[in-house]
Symmetry: C2
Subunit: 412 residues, 2 copies
């Protein structure tokens, strides 16, 4: 007899939460899923749950590590500046037609670590350009969308390199299921409570109308000006199409839009960043007037530099997010090498594109109006972790008054 | 120790033949692959071979039986009139941009046999409508394309229901590899010879310029008028983009376009037709002036009737093809429940869309000009087998002279 390291019952519940809480999929709505092939047991369950909820057509687009590697190992140089434009343009069309979007993540975070960083970066850039029209619809929150995860063998083996495969998968699966709050008898009600707690935090922050946040901790002395008319969000949120969804499962963060020209000081990352199959560790950067003017990393510095050179907006911030150090994901002590988890374990900032929903009446603003308020624009959006148990954060009001927000990594 | 029932070396050779002979993929050319998830070992090899040949971007779109069934088992009624329009429209865009097309088949031929035929037919029709712009580029031979197959467990278990799984897969794999002519030391040269033999047949048929073919055999007494300016094709063929490819691996047929208004008489199928997951057996139809006016089947008659009602052109012929009974696929004695194989085991006719390449200068003809010459138009193209060891075929010249073409299933 063998036991399945991934509980089928927990997968059923995760599928249910993904469709009902994550997407809040509406009757007749189409759904586009992206997922690694290994996540098929979850893809099938989500597809079934989506159809039970009345989905129009569910279209999963499956990726495979072996196919990705086949390119890096065999393609001629010119290939790396190309992307599947037709596929990404098609997704943008689907979203224009009000299709919802679900991403299942779980790829090997170090899949491309052995490949030429130059080619990895060029291929990533070509993909970003092709994907931009679709990504904008997600970033602008035109449609309901969500991201969930699946404990693949490749990912689990990176997170728990010393455990046998099945044990690593089982351990990662349990960490994912518990932090995604699907192990209770009634996960959907659990999520309602969790969303109410996050809403209390965003309500308080939105009342304060801080001009800036000041972060201090080891290696960090950073003032992040907030965009004019910025709005804090967290947990459930309502897309422009009127549907309230939870864009991340799990989620612990509250977040808003920094001012792209008013960020100054130095900041050091507190967790490694897994980016396009490479690891970037010990990032240290200096901001002047919103722009990164110096950057180094103990590992993956070449990948970091290429990332910063993606476009004009890649050296400026598009998001600032607060997560207490006592967050369950942080307390698990696991480094997931996956933004969905690691960003919910610590305060973080994101390089690149801002979320228009993080403005008052953001759905009605043109890109020019967003830029005028300090919202950043870029083809990238890359979160990296700066929080720790030693992080203090002050809110700075327009009159210069400082209000404690975090002390030693916790809400003050 | 376990041995792989599917030889990795044979898969390597099949991938090589698919890219070099099937597609003749050109440097810088993009490639769109569709395949069942189970065919990943072949998809990865074809992707690698394509990139080695200089491919731009290879985009595999993977399908999964479990996902397909999740829809039929859970979706609400309205879903079955919808399709992933954005995906099919995207494929048409890719082909417009000169991407090549490779399909890997191997799905369970009876996947949908237990589902409501009404829903199967509606979903199939919605897909056909969405797929039409892309299919037209394939049917019009605008681009180089090919179809190959992969011996999935589900398919092998249908073909050899009495064998243990691994044995069934091994037996099907060997049948596929040998009929695809990839087991020799030099499969590419082998294909050059095979193509030369087929070209001799098409050259003779094209010299004859028959007005019609007359088929006679048990239950069959059918006159198939040939379209004006029809041209016979078989084996390697040159697409409008100038690239010579082999659209089917394997292929044994020579084929041309019938006249959509000049088919008369009765015809009986000689092999079951596997269509959209259902089996249609013992088809008997009567044509009058090109149109099927009576149709029955001992099994799957409802599916057949729905197929004939797909659109105006579904009751008329778009292809007639000649395959000797001694073809290696026929001699294998295996019923594959798969058009790619079964149509290369016997003479066949196809309901629906004609191939514009099967006209003199077909690439330059408008759809109006094709229709004026007798070419049929439809959203479907479904081949079914009418050949046997008892089939006689006469060519009828414009002056009424009869020329023996087949006697007892073989070239006369
Ligand atoms: Zn965030
Ligand atoms: Zn972010
Ligand atoms: Zn044919
Ligand atoms: Zn055909």
């Amino acid at each position: 007899m063998t036991t399945d390291p991934i509980s089928p019952e927990a997968l059923d519940k995760l599928a249910d939460v993904a469709v009902k809480v994550g997407l809040n999929l509406q009757e007749g709505q189409d759904l586009v899923i992206t997922a690694p092939v290994e996540a098929l047991p979850l893809v099938r369950r989500i597809t079934a749950a989506a159809y039970r909820a009345g989905a129009g057509v569910v279209t999963p687009i499956l990726s495979d590590a072996g196919i990705t590697l086949a390119r890096f190992e065999n393609a001629q140089d010119a290939s790396f500046d190309k992307a599947a434009d037709w596929l990404y343009a098609g997704m943008a069309e689907a979203f224009k037609g009000n299709a919802a979007r679900l991403a299942i993540v779980g790829e090997d975070p170090m899949l491309l670590a052995e490949q030429d960083p130059e080619k990895v970066s060029r291929a990533g850039k070509a993909n970003s350009i092709a994907y931009k029209p679709a990504l904008e619809k997600i970033a602008n929150f035109d449609i309901n969308w969500t991201i969930v995860s699946y404990p693949t063998v490749a990912w689990a083996s990176r997170v728990f390199p010393d455990l046998p495969e099945a044990e690593a998968v089982e351990k990662l699966a349990n960490a994912l299921f518990s932090s995604s709050r699907v192990l209770d008898a009634d996960p959907v009600t659990n999520w309602t409570d969790h969303n109410a707690n996050l809403r209390k935090r965003t309500a308080w922050l939105n009342e304060q109308r801080f001009d800036a946040l000041h972060f201090s901790g080891p290696g960090t002395d950073l003032t992040v000006g907030l965009a004019e008319d910025h709005e804090w969000h967290g947990g459930a949120s309502t897309a422009t199409n009127g549907i309230t969804c939870n864009p991340n499962i799990p989620t612990e963060e509250v977040f808003t839009t920094p001012h792209s020209a008013r960020v100054d000081g130095v900041v050091r990352s507190t967790k490694p960043l897994s980016h396009q199959g490479s690891l970037i560790d010990d990032i240290e950067v200096r901001f002047e007037a919103g722009k990164i003017v110096e950057a180094k990393a103990s590992k993956g510095e070449a990948v970091l530099q290429k990332l910063l050179d993606s476009d004009e907006g890649a050296r400026r911030l598009g998001e600032v997010a607060l997560v207490p150090h006592s967050s369950p994901i942080s307390q698990s002590g696991v480094l997931f090498y996956n933004t969905l988890y690691d960003e919910n374990a610590a305060c973080h900032i994101a390089l690149g594109q801002c979320y228009s929903k993080c403005f008052l009446n953001g759905g009605d603003l043109s890109s020019e109006e967003i830029a005028a308020r300090g919202g950043n624009s870029s083809m990238i959006h890359v979160d990296w972790m700066i929080g720790s148990a030693e992080m203090d954060i002050d809110g700075i009001l327009h009159d210069g008054t400082r209000v404690p927000v975090f002390r030693k990594g916790e809400w003050a």
